[in-house]
Subunit: 483 residues, 2 copies
């Protein structure tokens, strides 16, 4: 989630309190993922939410390291002068920048920005560190916290003033080589989103209007939320030589001549947690994909007073046996089974295992899937295998369902009217457009706020007519309302 | 490293530019661990330094999780009102707090502190989250960045205005149970420091004067730097009910009565990197303990033009074979071996492997240890085993040497004169003292700045006379100048 710099025209407190935001916020709090703090727009990540972020980090980071990316850490603060060097970039961020102006009771001589992103401070160092073609490619990344003072209504994970992310900042000697990085990075984000979070996306290039402030072009992964609105996830930007020229990142090429370097940046943020939570949830609460769920199954004992001891003991033995498969045991004696069922459904644990005196006698248990409520009796001796089978199936079914929703949710259109109708019906349109910024402004106006999400690389073979101007279109673009 | 609140009397820019700081800073930059940025007092961690921090995090975090500690994430910002609730704590931090007062071009209604530590913001949430004895113990931790605007001369890792750390914040229903956590936490820090970083420490309780702002008592790990000065590393604090009372952290006990909870906090910071780098270094540069070194051995090819191809090829084959043992290959053809030797010695790689045409013919290589320069010829078939043997031995020898230095560096004293002499000779004194704060002030004055580092649990069996007052002492304490 990088800054979409042209969104600033909608400034001030617009308090976009649609029903989804309210539903979602309630869900996040009831599922014990976050809590509000008394810092406006900032949330506290509770253990389950943070452990999911840790897993995402781990999987992404492992893959980054495999392709030679190294982690570094740069300061939280950016001096005003440093931030201002690339004018377009600065303009894109400055309305949302939080400034430190004093320490203790002393005013600072130069105010310091809290990093909204670290291009500017990192690239001043890069300019010192890079001397020759031998220093390239330089493939650095950091995992950190950034602050962008959103004025819209905050929503846990989806829109918070501080968020966590990775920011990759790579430097190449050749443009082509820099551009070839794209598929690797987006491939990593895509793999982690699909394999672990079970969320499919629309990948494509941003229109000029929606390109990251300072970049030459931007690729994004767009997800569709249950309310039909699109939301941007991970992205990758090719900066060309824009920053290199502003910050003086030059290298001696093999012929001993000085050249400006080519740069990319890329990010995945804690917003992805919110996207996943929103996509996999229903009226009962969350549904966590097993590959990302810290706890995958919960044993709930069912007993009357006379069978209590026996049941608790048997559950405890089974729990110990299956601990390494992510099975936990809800041994709280002060809550009734019905309460526990509701709680674990709200928290989205993929499988529930019910064990009562009858089951113990027959050496079996009852398992209930969170995703489809399917109830099945399983022999204890088959339980381990069965759990793994069901978890794998849940993972696949969640992904299938999300894909079906995504692909069932967009409509190919060839006229403005068709697009308007699609947007009214909370769908995403795929329609031919000219690349003019004015065309996009008109589109937004005509559709009551829809915009170009991105432009897929794979284009229809026919060239359409722009739905706004009627002239030959430059591309087919995904169009929709965006969160 | 928590705030030593009574240090504030030495405020303003004191620019304590001792020789050690200059030597150390030069070393950190030459060894490619950090670079300055143009944010005063903040550094950029380069890949090797950051990967060492990642390893420390990983080892500590794994052990935390084994004892049931869970990670969370709280906001970077703390509203002024929240920070002020525990008066002593607030006073201890406020001169060093960085304040955000504006966003974009708008002044904020309430200024926000950048967290110097997160007790205050976390405990407001704890007060909401904790209801009953069943919610306890609550064992939460976060890994994050904090800011304390030091006015002393900044030194990479050892004294920076932003640093990275863990902050554990645990809550118990019983004081005894809370206090029993101490050995577990300090045991984890100690194990990681000794087993990976090869640095021994003096563990003990802080004197009242040096106790963390808001805590009932503090335990610290103190390390001795090559210049004879002590420096505080990880610490653990028992807060009693101080914060619980200020923030309203209450629970219903088993009898249904309301009680205030007991709390602890603990931390290890990126300062530990600096301590390790300082302890294991010599005139040639850094010496990295093999267990923490990201690269453990480097192959340097030695050739003339006629043997170049053959040597490079052989080295590459051996490097591939031994990659998983942390062996890297310096295949840069534009640098001479002598240059490479110096560079890798500066960077502290534990083992160097030299391979030339003669060695290839005899199917052997030469290995050189960084710690003692020992040179040995090894058959290639024995290399894997030999490398592991030598690395293990280097790890042990570095730790032995550091222990010898530590234990050789303190002197039992029974009079002020003896203590003065010890301090003059850059040693640490173990001497009997009264617990009065005034006594400590006098001690500091008399010794030209030495202070109580900490008070070991294991005390001499005889009770000494306080070296200042002459009365019966309360304890034997470690006394020394502190970094």
């Amino acid at each position: 989630m990088k800054k979409e710099n042209k969104e600033k025209d909608v400034k001030g407190i617009t308090a976009e309190k649609d029903e989804f935001s309210e539903y979602f916020t309630e869900l996040m709090i009831k599922a014990d993922l976050v809590d509000y703090t008394n810092v406006s727009g900032c949330i506290a990540f509770k253990p389950v939410a943070y452990s999911i972020w840790e897993k995402i980090k781990e999987e992404v980071d492992k893959r980054f390291k495999e392709i030679g990316i190294k982690n570094v850490y740069f300061p939280l603060f950016i001096p005003e002068k440093t931030l201002m060097k690339e004018a377009e970039h600065f303009e894109g961020f400055t309305p949302e920048v939080a400034w430190v102006t004093r320490v203790g009771d002393k005013e600072l001589n130069e105010k310091l920005a809290i990093r909204p992103t670290s291009e500017t401070i990192m690239y001043e160092s890069y300019a010192k560190w890079i001397r020759s073609w031998r220093d390239l490619p330089l493939l650095y990344n950091q995992w950190n916290n950034v602050v962008r003072w959103e004025f819209k209504n905050p929503v846990p994970f989806l829109r918070t003033r501080e968020f966590l992310w990775n920011e990759g900042h790579t430097v190449y000697s050749r443009k082509k080589e820099a551009e070839e990085e794209r598929d690797k990075i987006l491939g990593i984000y895509k793999e982690v989103c699909e394999k672990y979070l079970a969320i499919p996306s629309l990948i494509g290039r941003k229109s000029k209007k929606e390109t990251f402030a300072g970049a030459e072009y931007t690729y994004s992964m767009e997800f569709i939320m249950p309310n039909g609105k699109a939301i941007q996830g991970p992205d990758w930007h090719h900066d060309g030589q824009n920053f290199a020229k502003a910050y003086g990142i030059k290298f001696l090429n093999k012929d001993g001549k000085e050249e400006y370097a080519y740069q990319n940046t890329f990010a995945i943020t804690t917003r992805i947690l919110g996207i996943m939570f929103a996509i996999h949830s229903d009226d009962k609460g969350l549904i966590l994909p097993p590959n990302i769920a810290p706890n995958k199954s919960v044993i709930v004992p069912i007993y009357f007073e006379d069978s209590k001891e026996k049941v608790l003991k048997a559950c405890s033995v089974i729990a110990k046996m299956l601990k390494k498969y992510g099975v936990i045991f809800d041994d709280r004696v002060n809550y009734k089974p019905g309460f526990k069922f509701n709680e674990w459904e709200m928290k989205g644990i993929p499988l529930r295992i019910e064990i009562g005196p009858k089951e113990i006698e027959k050496k079996e248990v009852i398992i209930i899937r969170r995703d489809n409520n399917k109830k099945e009796t399983v022999k204890i001796k088959d339980l381990k295998e069965k759990i793994n089978e069901e978890l794998e199936d849940i993972q696949n079914k969640l992904f299938d369902k999300a894909k079906k929703f995504l692909y069932g949710n967009f409509i190919e259109c060839s006229s403005l009217n068709e697009v308007k109708k699609a947007i009214e019906n909370k769908k995403i349109a795929l329609a031919p457009l000219s690349k003019d910024e004015e065309i996009e402004d008109k589109l937004k106006f005509e559709t009551g706020g829809a915009k170009v999400l991105n432009i897929p690389d794979e284009q229809p073979s026919v060239r359409g007519k722009c739905i706004i101007s009627g002239k030959d279109a430059d591309y087919y673009a995904y169009i929709g309302k965006s969160y």
